[in-house]
């Protein structure tokens, strides 16, 4: 007798299917590891999909401004999980488009760092743990999102995607962003972390009445008021809250189109 699949079973199974499609169709392939909760789930799912060993590199695009706890987490779990870790660096903010609002301009350093890695490793596929419910423009993403040689997201002209058939463009210098977690919600991520006992950085848990709900660079990310000190308490909090997840991410709120502009230019 097969027990009925729960929603988490369905989400997990679909993500594994996507990861295996990406591994078959896109070579060379790499996964982004921001050290946040979503990308930890992404790495975990890859270990499941490939029976314990992630068969492609895991990349951390390091802005140099992450929290110390995040760097410690990276060193520990890269070793413990046997990851082939690639660390990329980002250019100084002075080199970034000055027409962007300040926080977005700071965030755009990561886009530039990522572009360098993609070109250096001639990647055909980059796996990223973004979700539709995080942000309105991410809600319009494809599972396999093709990017031209300039890495731009052609949001007005996305390919059809249905019945689990994914496109793999063959143009020179192009790559595909693969999004295995698009259908997951924030609370699903935490329920899965609880179910699978996946480690996360301590910054997510409440200290002095505040916790980080979304982790970015130190200077453009703020904690939110919360008493949630455990994964279970975070789940309970999310069922009750009306506040959006990225409320603490400055770059989302500077202007109506700031995040769309970042994403069109290649941000995650």
């Amino acid at each position: 007798m097969i027990p009925d699949m729960t929603d988490l079973d369905h989400l997990e199974s679909q993500s594994i299917f996507i990861l295996r499609e990406a591994y078959h169709r896109l070579k060379p392939l790499a996964m982004l590891w921001s050290l946040g909760k979503d990308s930890n789930v992404c790495v975990w799912l890859a270990r499941k999909a490939f029976l314990g060993q992630v068969p492609f590199p895991v990349m951390h695009v390091d802005t140099g401004k992450k929290f110390p706890e995040m760097y410690a987490f990276r060193e520990r779990y890269a070793k413990e999980w046997g990851l082939d870790l690639i660390i990329g660096t980002c250019p100084p903010v002075e080199e970034i488009d000055p027409s962007l609002p300040p926080a977005a301009r700071s965030a755009a350093r990561k886009t530039a760092g990522l572009a360098t890695l993609i070109e250096r490793h001639r990647l055909a596929g980059v796996i990223a743990g973004i979700r539709r419910d995080e942000q309105a423009t991410r809600a319009k993403e494809r599972v396999f999102s093709p990017r031209g040689a300039s890495h731009r997201w052609d949001v007005r002209n996305q390919p059809p995607e249905f019945w689990d058939q994914f496109v793999t463009p063959i143009e020179d210098g192009a790559h595909v962003r693969v999004h295995p977690l698009l259908a997951w919600r924030e609370v699903d991520i935490w329920r899965y972390i609880a179910r699978e006992n996946i480690p996360v950085v301590d910054l997510y848990f409440s200290r002095d009445g505040k916790r980080y709900r979304s982790l970015g660079d130190q200077d453009i990310t703020s904690p939110v008021a919360s008493e949630a000190g455990s994964v279970e308490e975070i789940i309970a909090e999310l069922y009750a809250t009306r506040e959006p997840e990225r409320a603490g991410r400055a770059m989302d709120h500077e202007s109506e189109d700031a995040f769309e502009r970042l994403r069109v230019a290649g941000y995650l």
Partner: protein, 638 residues
């Protein structure tokens, strides 16, 4: 803080995905915005942000701005790409998919709608049914969204007038009926003002049906496809040390350790020995929807695209497929064009061999046509280069063909309806001269003697000796040799498993034709897989005789008449049968000749005696004429 007993961690069901479709400007985004607002599903700040964006563009509150997040969408007031939003109604989860209504963005509508289990079709009552209303209704049918709720929007603009609204409703019902769509509800609403969305409207007191949220709550929950036949389309094969894992997702049905499964078109059998798990322990069984990693025994050749199924519930197979396509390229589809047909993880080369009927968008009637227009629908026949394994299209899964062009772009959907009727126009003629009559005239029956065995076992040597003796005795015997056929008829084939199967199939067909013409055909072909030979027997019918030329690998390798074992050992002939390609010895051949023990002369005599016995005319034929004596004399001389 006080933590309630985890509803969060308890098993939960997947949300029901609902797609909102309809003609551009008929109010889809507004309907969703209103629905989210009236059911208290908006995140903090969302409404204020939408109000701000509306004011900036000189508008009152624009509900659609809750969804249309792209700058171009807000500036032009049109949805470009589909958005998905989680939505809860009395504890039940939904995902609302807002699909664009503009024809130019049909591919985005399909992207949004394909995963939905139900649809809300929105129609502006002041405009009635328009092109995209029809196109979207047709697409719901073709992508398999079976549950449809019709919303008649902007009822306020008709003063909530029952007669005029009923007229639109009647028109719609007539449109949907030929598509086999019976709406679960037809609901007059005003999305802008919230009438009949969450709350029953006093302006529409004459409406006795449900409100929108009542209709949504009554939708059936999507069912998993575990009750169907087992279908697993192989994604990949992973190796870890000595272990080999066949990975893929179970599309329907279930499997368990110990099950025998058939694999791909060749139908090789294997047993599931393990369902691997990481970091969890191995499972004993798995069902539809699960991504699994299987270990099989024996280690048969499995490749991406192969379908795994239980032999008792095999899929259909055909080279000519009847499909009903939705066409997404900006230029017409023309007869003779070639594509890749993707079916789960399988890929086939196909050609458009017939355009049967093309759908007219103005009334959804079908007529003969020579091409399919952009964003059009049509019944077409696809002819594949090899047999396609498939199940006919059903909303819950199966037959989900997708057409991909040479640039790897998805250019259309091709739900497979069944085997194309083309064969109805092929009329195989019964021969004017029957096999029996031929046998009677010649004194012996044409037949196929299929010599299988390892390279170097002696197939060609014995076949040639038999051919010479039979011919010398007045019997038309001929040898079909694998290597010789590969220089002509089969020159286009390589040595992949599929090409080897095709090599065998063609050889079997030619052998049968020659045998039917009265010849004694001796085939010398390694044909290493039992399934290949079973296919040859199917083609040859009762004319077919399987003869195993048996000799062990060491003996064959010592002979090595063509120097092939040496090359295989040196690694220059990968997949060589006997070295790194397996040979499945026949379990019950019609004759087995062990050439490791028998001399060539003795084995040849035994073969010739067997053939003579098999081709002797049956008693019924003897009544037929005088020529029998001739043949009988020839046989007697053997």
């Amino acid at each position: 803080m006080n933590v309630p007993l985890d509803p969060a961690l308890a098993a939960a069901e997947m949300p029901t995905p609902i797609v909102i479709v309809g003609h551009v400007d008929h109010g889809k985004s507004t309907l969703i915005g209103r629905l989210l607002h009236d059911t208290d599903n908006l995140l903090a700040g969302k409404l204020d942000a939408a109000r701000l964006s509306s004011e900036k563009r000189g508008l009152g509150i624009e509900w659609s701005f809750l969804l249309d997040s792209l700058q171009a969408e807000r500036d032009q007031g049109v949805t470009i790409d589909a958005t998905r939003l989680p939505f809860t109604l009395d504890g039940r989860g939904f995902v609302i998919v807002d699909a664009p209504g503009h024809r130019q963005f049909l591919r985005n509508m399909i992207t949004g709608a394909a995963g939905a289990s139900a649809a809300v079709l929105v129609v502006d009552v002041t405009e009635g049914v328009r092109d995209q209303t029809r196109r979207h209704a047709m697409l719901l049918r073709l992508i398999g969204v079976a549950e449809v709720i019709v919303v008649l929007n902007k009822a306020d603009l008709l003063g909530f007038d029952r007669a005029r609204i009923d007229a639109v409703a009647a028109h719609l019902t007539a449109l949907l009926a030929p598509l086999d769509i019976t709406p679960r509800a037809v609901i007059p609403v005003s999305a802008r003002h919230g009438d009949n969305i969450a709350a029953r409207s006093s302006h529409l007191a004459w409406h006795t049906g449900p409100t929108l949220i009542e209709a949504l709550a009554a939708l059936p929950r999507p069912l998993p496809a575990v009750s169907g036949p087992l279908r697993l389309s192989v994604q990949d094969v992973y190796r870890q040390g000595e272990r080999r894992f066949v990975v893929g997702r179970i599309e329907s049905g279930r499997l368990a350790v110990g099950d025998t499964v058939a694999i791909g078109a060749a139908g090789h059998r294997a047993t599931i020995t393990a369902i691997a798990g990481w970091p969890t322990p191995p499972a004993q069984s798995a069902g539809a929807g699960q991504s699994v990693a299987l270990e099989l025994a024996p280690e048969v050749v499995v490749a991406r695209g192969d379908l795994l199924y239980h032999p008792s519930a095999a899929p259909l197979r055909a080279r000519r497929l009847a499909t009903r396509i939705f066409w997404l390229r900006q230029e017409p589809l023309r007869l003779g064009e070639s594509f890749q047909l993707r079916l789960a993880t399988a890929e086939y080369k196909v050609r458009v061999s017939a355009i049967e009927r093309v759908v007219r968008i103005d009334d959804l009637s079908a007529e003969a046509g020579t091409e399919v227009p952009p964003e059009g629908f049509a019944d077409i026949t696809l002819t594949a280069a090899e047999e396609v394994l498939f199940d006919p299209f059903r909303p819950e899964g199966g037959g989900r063909g997708v057409l991909v062009d040479g640039h790897q772009h998805i250019v259309g959907g091709a739900p497979i309806l069944g085997v194309a009727a083309g064969r109805e126009h092929v009329f195989p003629l019964d021969a004017a001269v029957s096999h029996t009559a031929r046998a009677a005239a010649k004194g012996y029956r044409g037949a196929v003697f299929w010599l299988t065995g390892l390279p170097g076992a002696g197939k060609s040597t014995l076949a040639r000796q038999a051919e010479q003796r039979l011919f010398a005795d007045g019997i038309d015997a001929v040898v079909l040799d694998g290597d010789t056929l590969r220089t002509g008829l089969n020159a286009d084939l390589g040595f992949s498993p599929r090409e080897r199967e095709e090599n065998v199939r063609r050889t079997a067909e030619v052998a049968r034709l020659m045998a039917e013409a009265g010849l004694v055909v001796i085939v010398a072909l390694i044909s290493p897989q039992a399934a290949m030979r079973a296919e040859a027997r199917r083609v040859g019918g009762d004319l077919f005789h399987e003869i195993h030329i048996a000799a062990d690998v060491a003996t064959c390798e010592a002979r090595d008449p063509k120097g092939l074992y040496a090359k295989a050992r040196a690694g220059t002939l990968p997949g060589f049968t006997g070295i790194d390609g397996s040979y499945e010895a026949p379990a019950a051949p019609d004759l087995r000749l062990d050439t490791g023990r028998l001399s060539v002369g003795v084995a040849a005599e035994a073969l010739i005696a067997f053939i003579a016995e098999a081709i002797a005319p049956k008693d019924t034929a003897a009544a037929d004429g005088t020529a029998v004596d001739n043949g009988a004399a020839a046989l007697a001389r053997l």
